[in-house]
Every structure is written in structure tokens, then in C-alpha cells.
Symmetry: C7
Subunit: 87 residues, 7 copies
């Protein structure tokens, strides 16, 4: 099954590593809004700076969650994405 996000939306799979990463990134508990990480699986027709395969950061309360075949996904507008984690 495939999902094609509309317009400026991005379809994101939550990555397992969660709070600690090889690169050392983690999100502190005390932060008012904790950014989270995900892997981009599909992008809408109006998305400009995000590509499939990017690892991105986004605020915890942005977007809409769906669950497909026991993976958690997020559908989020590009303008709500904070940026791309590289390397």
C-alpha cells in the first residue's frame, strides 16, 4: 500500500532510535516543545525543499498521525518542518 500526500504535505515514518542517535542528537525532556525525527517517504506536489529519504526534525504537536502495517507515520505540512538532519 502506498500513500501520496496532498499539495504541501510530507509523509514521514518515525525513526526507531527516538531519543538517542548515533549522531548524538536527543531531545531534552524539559523543552516546552520537543522536536522529533522522521524519515521522509513521500512528498506532495507543492513541496519544495524536502526530498524522499531526508531525515527531518519537526515539533511533536505538528501534523496528523497514521499507523500503516504497524509503523507510525506522520503527515505534516512542509512549512511545519524545522529542517533536515545531515550526515
Amino acid at each position: 500500500m502506498k500513500f501520496k500526500p496532498l499539495k504541501d504535505r510530507v509523509f514521514v515514518r518515525y525513526t526507531e532510535e527516538g531519543e538517542k542517535t548515533a549522531g548524538g542528537l536527543y531531545i531534552p525532556d524539559s523543552a516546552k516543545e520537543k522536536p522529533q525525527k522522521g524519515l521522509v517517504e513521500a512528498v506532495g506536489s507543492e513541496v519544495k525543499e524536502i526530498k524522499v529519504g531526508n531525515t527531518i526534525l519537526f515539533d511533536k504537536y505538528s501534523g496528523s498521525k497514521v499507523n500503516i502495517d504497524n509503523n507510525e507515520y506522520l503527515i505534516i505540512k512542509e512549512e511545519d518542518i524545522l529542517g533536515i538532519v545531515e550526515g
Copy 2:
């Protein structure tokens, strides 16, 4: 009886399968806003990316519900549709 949505609105029939699908999609109970599925039956004159016959995801609280001949329908603006489920 037919219904023609106005401008950027989409006329959607709720699909029965609901929480579980052949493709494995389901919507978790704990999600703050649970996306739902529907089949597009008609589109307004300003709708651009959605076609009749598409299966779409949308947030539970988007749009206006109507009931015609015992089927549940939703009238929703295209910008509130999350994306298209394919395959």
C-alpha cells in the same frame, strides 16, 4: 439524487472497512486526531489534485457530515485532505 460540492469542496463517502483494511492501514485510538478514510464521489470546480474514485485520508474533525439514503457522506475542503491512499 446527486450532490455537487461547491468550489474547493470534495464529496466523500465513508468506506465501511473503517479501522482495519486489506492494505493494513488502521488508525490508532491514542492519536490526538485520528485520520479517517473515504471514497471521493464528486469534486467542486476548484479542486485540483483529487479525482472521483480516489480513496483519501482526512482528519476526523474536518468537514461537514450528511446522510443520504443511509450512507454517511462528508463534505470537505481539498486543503483539509491529508492525501490519497493508493494500491
Copy 3:
């Protein structure tokens, strides 16, 4: 007496049949916002997709009500109209 709505407004007479229609349309009690039906009697100069004689659906809380010669009317902006009921 005649009423001419301004700009993008539509002048609508509530149709009597209310909750049940020949076409089978009814509006469920449990819906958060219940769409209602009406017959368009006049349109403003900026109205584009609605014509006099159309039967339309609109949300219960949209527009302003007036009563002329014991008929209930609604003055509603075109953008708040959900769509046209045909056939």
C-alpha cells in the same frame, strides 16, 4: 417585497420538507454540525457558482436568518455553502 443580497451573499428560502426528502436525504441528529437545505431566491453581484432555483446545503450555524411574510429565509455567503443538491 423583494430582497437583493449584497456582493457574495445568497438569499435562501428554507424548504419545508426539512429532515426527510423525496431523494432520501436527511441530517442525522448526532452530527456536530447539521447541514440544512434551502432554495435559492436571489444572489449577490459577486456570486459565481450558485443560481436562482438551486437547492443547496449549508451548515446550520452559517448566515443570518430573516422572516418575510411568514417564510423563513437565510442570507448566507457563497463560500459558506456546501454544495448543490441535484435531481
Copy 4:
């Protein structure tokens, strides 16, 4: 004394007949927002569809009230006017 409304504003005198009119118009008590009638006495430079002498309907809570020589007047933006009562 004369009053010249600014830009898109309309200067309106409340008409006495109030709740009942020759044409049969009245505004029901139970309506959430009760439209009212008035006679246009002056219009601002950006007003397009309203002319001096028009009888108009407007929502009770729109605009600002003033009292000149014991007549009640309303200063209201054209976009808040519902329409023109004719004949």
C-alpha cells in the same frame, strides 16, 4: 449638521417601523442574530453597491451607533450589510 462616513462605511438611519413593515418583514425574537432595517443617508468613498436612499438589512451587532438630533444612526462597513430591501 451632516456626517460623511469614511472609506467603506455607510451612514444609516434606523427606520421607525421596526419589527413589522408594510411589506410584511419582521425579525423573529428567537433568531440568534436578528437583522435590522435602516435607510442609507450617506456613503463613504469606497462603497460600491449601496446608494443613498436604499433600505438595507444588517445584523444587530454590526457597526457603531450614534444619536443626532434624537434620531438613531448607525455607521456600518459595506461588507457587513446583508442586502437591499426593494419595493
Copy 5:
């Protein structure tokens, strides 16, 4: 001392006559928002319909008050001015 309002702002001196005027204008106590009168002393560079010397009406809660040499002044945006009192 002089004051030059910025952009679309108007600098207004409250006129003493207050509640009763030669022309018969007064503002009723029961009105939700009571318009007030003032004399325009200076206008910003983007003001279009108001001139120095105009007597204007404005809502009580619009703009910012200042007191210079024991006169009360108001700094108000042109779009918040209701209109010009003439004659």
C-alpha cells in the same frame, strides 16, 4: 511642541463640548461602544481621506491617548475613524 503621527495614524485633540453639541449630536449612554468627537491636528504620510481641521467621530476604545500641556489627545489609525462631522 509638535507631534507627527506615523504612516496611517491621525493625531486628534478631544473637543471639550463632549456629550452635547451645537449641532445636536450626543452619544447615548446605553450604546455598546460610544463614538466620540475630536479635532484633527496632524496626519501621517499614508492618511488619505482625513485633513487637519476635520472634526471626526471614533469609537471610544480605538487608538492611544496622550496628554500634552493639559490637553487630551488621541493617536488613531485612519481605518478606525468612523467619519467626518460637517457643518
Copy 6:
């Protein structure tokens, strides 16, 4: 140390004289929003009507305060400045 405000922002030093001025300006206690005075020290690239050296009035709750070398400064957007005090 220097501070360069961004875009449409203005960097303002609070002037000591405060409530009473040579020109007679003071801000009454009872006013809902009390304008305050300051001296402009730097302007952003998009500021149009304000120049370094101007004495300006602004609402008490506008902008962000900083303290540099024991002087109080304000960083405020040009659109929130009420006007320029001259002479």
C-alpha cells in the same frame, strides 16, 4: 557594543525624563495604554519613516526590552510606533 535591529525593527533608548518633559508632555496614569518616549539609536533595513535621533512615542506594551551597560533599550517594530515628537 552596537546593536543592529532586523528588517522593520527600531532600536530605542528610553529617555530619562519619563513622565514630565520640557515640552509639557506627560502620560496620565488612568489611560488604558500609556504611551512612552524614547530616542532612536538604530533602525533596520526596512524602516521607512523613522531616523536615528528621532524622539518617538510608543505604547507601553509594545516591543522587547533589553538592558545594555545599564541603559534600558527597546526593540520595536516600526508599525507599532505611534509617531515622532518634534521641537
Copy 7:
């Protein structure tokens, strides 16, 4: 690991000196919103006036915090940056 902010966002490292600086800048406790300092490490494609290496001021509650390799970072939109500290 590198982070690339999106569009009009700026990636900022909090500078240690915090409340007191060589230049004498500090942020008073009593201020309603206390600006804070940071060093710009990366900028999005739509950022215009901010460059990598700038020291900037921003309001405490602007942007989203992340923690990478035990340094605190902020992701903030350019329009929420107050200005650049120079010299």
C-alpha cells in the same frame, strides 16, 4: 552531524556567557519577555539578513529547542529574530 534549517529558519547555538557579557549586555529579570543571545550556525534558503557567525538576540519564547552533543540549539524563524549584536 549537521543540521540544515528549512526556508526562513535559522539554526542557533546558545552562547554560554548567558546573563553577563564582555560588552556589558545582560537581560533584566523583571522584563516581561527576556531576549536571549545565540550564535548562528546555519541558515535556511529564504533567510535574508542573517549570516552564519552572527550573534543575535531573540525572545525567550521564540523558536524550537533541540540538544545536539550536549549543546543547546534553537531553530527560529528569521522574522522572530530581534537583531544582530556587533563588536
